[in-house]
Point group: D2
Chain length 357, copies 4
């Protein structure tokens, strides 16, 4: 009820704070028999790790993941998989200085209003450090999906005014912004570094594509696949908008332009275009699932900002700590994870839609 779980069949519960002993996740509902080892998760966790490049924060965490339960002789047992990652480089000293100030764009004020009390060290539970657990669980989801030939690929589509025009998936991990367009990637890096030098930050768009999704995933009415993807992506820190397929561009289209004509591809029904983003009536239609999320510029900036103290006095604040000038590159594995978690949950749910044979 307090909002720390995601999924209905393949269900995860994350826990942990930025400056506590560590962060973790309990994965419930993973079927028995999946080969699983720590390296499966580590690979993905490393993609969201701090200190990867000049466009990310300098906090240094090894982020070594440990399996505490649910795996026996290298395979999942069907019981809860508990994973944890210790916090090693938490530095709370910077936060003592600003513990009585509300950082603009952050959850300091809202957590205080909600709980009457808050963990001011690095945002506590509101810190994006919580997403380590999501990425660890997402790695399991991806592994399950792969068995069904479903692949989830994410990348930075846009940063500031720079938007990818070519989509070479092999390029994504080759540049520090995770952009599939090599040329645009360079411009993105330049844009970020320019803002960082001024003590400022920039926003962007992350796009996630899921390939190989069979038709039939998603439930009618409220738990539509697109509705659950919207929640999944909007639950990532700093996200302010979500769209599927043509998204907001649909507004300017006519029905005759937007509707994707059904055509045959051999014996398979498919659509000529994909304005639907692979989802019709909330249910996958077999085309690629395409979702995008708008990421606001990082709230923690060195530039001086106006704010107030917990006592209601005017104040100025500079958020020192160690922060990413643009969230997108590290948000890519998080977005992929949330999409993968949504898909595996609906994949399993869909096994229940027809009469058991």
């Amino acid at each position: 009820m307090s909002g720390n779980t995601f999924g209905k069949i393949f269900k995860i519960a994350t826990w942990g704070e930025s400056h506590g002993p560590g962060v973790g996740v309990v994965v419930e509902g993973c079927p028995a028999g999946l080969p699983l080892k720590e390296a499966d998760m580590q690979k993905e966790i490393d993609r969201r790790r701090t200190g990867q490049s000049k466009v990310t924060t300098t906090r240094k965490e090894r982020d070594a993941v440990r399996i505490l339960s649910g795996v026996f002789q290298g395979k999942t047992t069907g019981t809860p998989i508990a994973l944890w990652v210790e916090n090693e480089d938490a530095d709370s000293s910077k936060y003592e200085l600003i513990k009585d100030l509300f950082r603009p764009g952050h959850a300091d004020y809202t957590y205080l209003m909600k709980y009457g009390f808050r963990d001011y060290r690095g945002g506590g539970r509101s810190s994006a450090r919580e997403t380590v657990g999501r990425v660890a669980a997402g790695a399991i989801a991806k592994k399950l999906l792969a068995r069904h030939k479903i692949k989830v690929v994410g990348y930075t589509l846009q940063i500031g005014p720079y938007r990818a025009k070519t989509f070479d998936y092999g390029e994504i991990e080759n540049n520090i912004v995770r952009c599939p367009d090599k040329k645009i990637a360079e411009k993105m890096v330049g844009h970020i570094m320019k803002a960082r030098k001024k003590g400022d930050s920039v926003g962007g768009i992350v796009e996630v594509v899921a390939q190989g999704v069979p038709p039939g995933l998603g439930e009618p009415v409220f738990d539509r696949l697109d509705a659950d993807l919207a929640k999944a992506l909007m639950s990532i820190p700093a996200v302010k908008g979500v769209e599927v397929g043509a998204g907001f561009a649909s507004v300017a289209m006519l029905g005759s332009e937007h509707n994707d004509a059904f055509v045959m591809a051999g014996k398979k029904v498919t659509t000529r275009t994909n304005n639907a983003g692979g989802i019709l009536g909330g249910i996958s239609n077999g085309a690629d699932i395409v979702a995008r999320m708008a990421v606001k510029p990082t709230s923690s900036i060195l530039k001086e900002q106006e704010t107030v103290t917990v006592k209601g006095e005017k104040a100025l604040i500079r958020v020192e700590g160690r922060h990413d000038p643009c969230v997108c590159p590290r948000a890519v594995p998080i977005a992929e994870s949330m999409v993968a978690l949504t898909l595996i949950d609906h994949y399993l749910r869909n096994k229940l839609s027809r009469l058991p044979k």
Copy 2:
């Protein structure tokens, strides 16, 4: 599990098909003691009713709502409130003609793939007629919210290229597109009628504003207020995108522009701007909640479209039936309802966040 319920504390379950005996909703978790009569719901249901104007479908439903349980001596008892609305003007004849064709943009193909079987009459469960139940339940949510001085207002912000510039809430119900800008409203109507004459349809944006929301609503991590709003709005038929506050416009902003400075308004903490849309870290901050949804052009169009039959043969289709050339005007009360349902649920959840006194 099959996706027909919404909410965790104030929970609704809708049921019913477009061409079955009727549609309904069971509302669970409404506190005891709320004065409630059928007219409270009817007022809102009438706003989404068919046949309101030249820009809506001509299907004629009285949509008379009936309370079947949960109310005694004019007050809610704390037990489930069952509401139902009979279908009176369902005309399935048009659907016999196209029962073996997949309507582009509709859920015909995906429901068939999911269930191996589908109710082809007017889309069955995938029909927007299902939303009658949401609006009925939304009316109860609004009534509860009103007791806490929370008001939810929705309107058509944009249709095709025409976007409201002035926001006179008193104007909304005065024009048939539910736009708060009288002049733009006229242009919107013209735009819709032009498309309708060509057998085509248009898209738009609906915006919902919630005023008077206290700080503290929303849960950390997954059940953030914005994540739940995103799901709520994306679950409405025809919606392809959702944003909160600055939304996708955040992409082009710098952190120093986007962050809303905290300032005092008398003894109350508030923010100078509202790029956050009233939500920080997933929790309301006391400013207006502002959410938007992108509505695709109606899928049912008279214009001839390419498709295939259930047997995989090429075919042409014209969707005759009775359809709205633009969904926005009737989507306004639905969007308001989904926002109201989300807010009352979080309002009640938030009562549990601090130590009980």
Copy 3:
């Protein structure tokens, strides 16, 4: 959250009061493709109907069930199945007399304390009339189970001191107490009639056996099959105890007596005895599931009883209305329904326990 739903995959939500417009149920999660007609439910509803014999209440309800959604061309569509039964013979006049008194053994006082307000007509929501919806939903569960060769049989095992010794299932519906032992059945009837004449009531035990349950149903830890059965049966009005297999008799046994030895029956593993009641570690082992519930004597009695008024004054009360002198005979189909609902839910859940192939 307010407690009116049961099940996780195959999920039911009941609604309605004893003296309102009717009672109903929404069944979510029934797979698509099951042949279903009103008669399937009616048959079971008739078994719990009032006025069946001299040992049941004289309230006369036809209890005609109507399918409002979820079925198309005689088959379930996978969407919610809404069922309702109108109240026709509600007579609230008797309740006006006692609306300011708390009936001993009833929920009058507790509902008032909980909600600050109550529907005093026949107990409102606390009335066993609510169970009509359970039996209707249970009929669907039974139909699904039957496809997998699972059969659920209930009967009155004991009334007062009289306990069945022979178990002829063909006899159950032949006598008005639903006892599988013809001779004991007669004694049970005599025992009930004797109490009724004195304006009193009696208790008993209902036993339910599920045959053909495959091994593997039930989840570890909290959602054990026996734990869910215990909840299911204890949620029936008037039930004060639940046991599985040897139940309370286990207390006097040694481990070497209680443990059921594993033996082979052809190529199948089975157990020599069934003290476990078909459940080991919360999971079915392939033997018959055997559960029992203790039913208290009906609370509504004509005999004068001490009580207090809502104002706290001493008073005497005689509960006139129309009541069953023993709940067991009509509780049999309710108990069967709750067991069937629990089993189908776990049957479907169990499809998710191993790696999807």
Copy 4:
């Protein structure tokens, strides 16, 4: 969905296996502001610890609990509280010998049938070691309940034929069987030791009383307080029956005997007797909540038993390991925990039953 969580508002998720790295629990929904330290949990965990006396197993675990999240400056923050206890004395060697045999009374066969694969070391997830997490979480529940003057007391009521006649709560922790009747306690110990010497085990009854519970806790229909207690207690390993108030003894009573007359105690409504066990219509009435559970004799016995191998061959088995000859003494804190968890959950849920003021 896989059954490892309990509660709806105050929700716990346990994880861990008998012979893995450890066991733990994540507590979600604990309100912010509760003072909490490891010693609060340790005190209760120590009561269920192994090696306490001659009537318990000799496995030696320190069972030191560690708080990994959710507490800041000695108070709960409202976010998930992750607790873990390392396994230190796991000895898997004994299990290698019997890994291909099904232990009678255990979950070996059923886990294998369910998952196609099992952790044979000490029962893996089916081991009662899992309950460490429940007791840790139960300690938090008790602390919250204590703030509202609610106290939960458990004890061994009966072992074999010996049943407590006097109820001196101060005596409970003074004897190794946790019986409130000193004289009977001695007989119980003798009874256990006699069985142990023969390589056998005995059963018993644990009773839990909750004092100070206000009227109004529990929800109508399915989530009745008694139904949830039944599930809570039946989910404890080795439990075969549950009863509330008069329980199975109700069967032999008349309505006029069973009904608890309402009387005034000063200005408070109360009942003269407590056959209801403090619950009417599923909702607490202000009297003591009284629940009992029947505990089967421990399944692990040294005595030789018949069984079969995983290949279906006849075999004999002696379960060596280190086992309790009677589960009751260590089951007392577990039963208390499950009752406390159920009560705090309903206490919080009940805050939502009336109109928010």
